[in-house]
């Protein structure tokens, strides 16, 4: 089982590196799904089968489908990849990479130095998670439901404004087309009558 952990950890890290460096959004999204599945296997080896299932269902399923919908709605086209290459070629990469690598080195140093204990992962059954979730963490569940409701209303509001704007722009375009149509015919009629 240790081999499974280290292998899936390596897959997760490699897939995440590929996510950050891709130019095509859809390719990055597929690598992100691979990374999430690898993390789900890590969860399973750590003795959290319930969380592993939720990772696959909610993260790799629902949230990634939302991303795919958004990218398909944007309808970016081939020129976006060239634009992305131009943005990637910019020299803004070195600073964040060096600083984040330093922070990572510090974190690894602190983790290795401070906790010499070795954890033995007993699987935690979903019943225990559910009992804790609806016992001492009940207020958290209520707050999460309020947050999700707020997100639902917010997403509906933002999408609704966009649709109203598009309808307004379509109406304006139709109005403009009608006025443009009516003007040439109005000019042509006086020309046509003498004939």
């Amino acid at each position: 089982m240790n081999v499974v952990f280290y292998l899936s950890a390596a897959i997760a890290v490699i897939a995440t590196i590929l996510v950050v460096t891709r130019v095509n959004a859809m390719h990055a999204l597929l690598y992100l799904i691979v990374s999430l599945l690898a993390v789900a296997i890590i969860f399973y080896t750590l003795g959290a089968p319930f969380i592993a299932a939720l990772e696959v269902i909610v993260y790799a399923g629902a949230i990634m489908v939302l991303f795919i919908f958004a990218i398909m709605l944007l309808n970016l086209g081939p020129h976006s990849e060239e634009q992305e290459r131009i943005w990637m070629r910019a020299t803004g990469w070195a600073g964040p990479v060096i600083l984040a690598a330093l922070l990572l080195a510090e974190i690894i140093y602190i983790i290795i130095g401070r906790s010499p204990t070795i954890g033995s992962a007993q699987p935690i059954q979903p019943a225990a998670v559910g009992a804790a979730l609806y016992g001492p963490y009940l207020i958290g569940v209520e707050l999460a439901s309020i947050l999700l409701l707020a997100a639902l209303v917010g997403a509906y509001h933002l999408g609704h404004i966009r649709r109203a704007l598009r309808e307004a722009s379509v109406e304006a375009a139709a109005l403009r087309a009608r006025t443009l149509e009516s003007r040439p015919t109005g000019e042509q009629e006086p020309l046509g009558q003498p004939k």
Binding site: N2, F5, A12, V13, I17, V19, V20, L29, L32, S35, V39, I42, F43, T45, L46, A48, F50, I51, L54, E55, Y59, I63, L66, F67, A70, L74, L76, E84, G92, P96, V97, L99, A100, A101, L104, I107, I111, I112, S115, T117, I118, G119, S120, P123, V129, A132, L133, Y137, G140, A144, L147, L148, A151, L152, G154, A155, L158, G159, R162, L165
Partner: protein, 102 residues
């Protein structure tokens, strides 16, 4: 189940979080920034689950559930905002939306 040193799980979480941080800092496309935020949230949840399995308590998994709900809320509003920004500015560059107007 596997007996993995807790440090290794936390180091994996740290590496994933750092990669997400690099993505947020270095990318200009707002879709990639959102994906990197997802990576960071996932890494934070991984750290919670590692710590929960270290002490054999379900609290870490409960925290992961809350992170999951928060990520779902964040990504729905974030993607709606991305659609708005693309509709408004005709680009996904984060620098295009640098001014706050009503």
């Amino acid at each position: 189940m596997a007996t993995i040193p807790m440090e290794h799980g936390l180091i994996v979480a740290g590496i994933l979080f750092t990669l997400g941080l690099i993505g947020v800092l270095a990318r200009r496309n707002i879709i990639f920034v959102l994906m990197s935020i997802e990576v960071m949230l996932n890494a934070a949840g991984l750290a919670f689950v590692v710590a929960g399995s270290r002490w054999g308590q379900p609290d870490g998994q409960v925290m992961f559930l809350f992170i999951l709900a928060m990520a779902a809320a964040e990504v729905s509003v974030g993607l709606a905002l991305v659609l708005q920004i693309y509709h408004h500015f005709k680009t996904l560059d984060t620098d295009a939306a640098s001014r706050m107007r009503g």
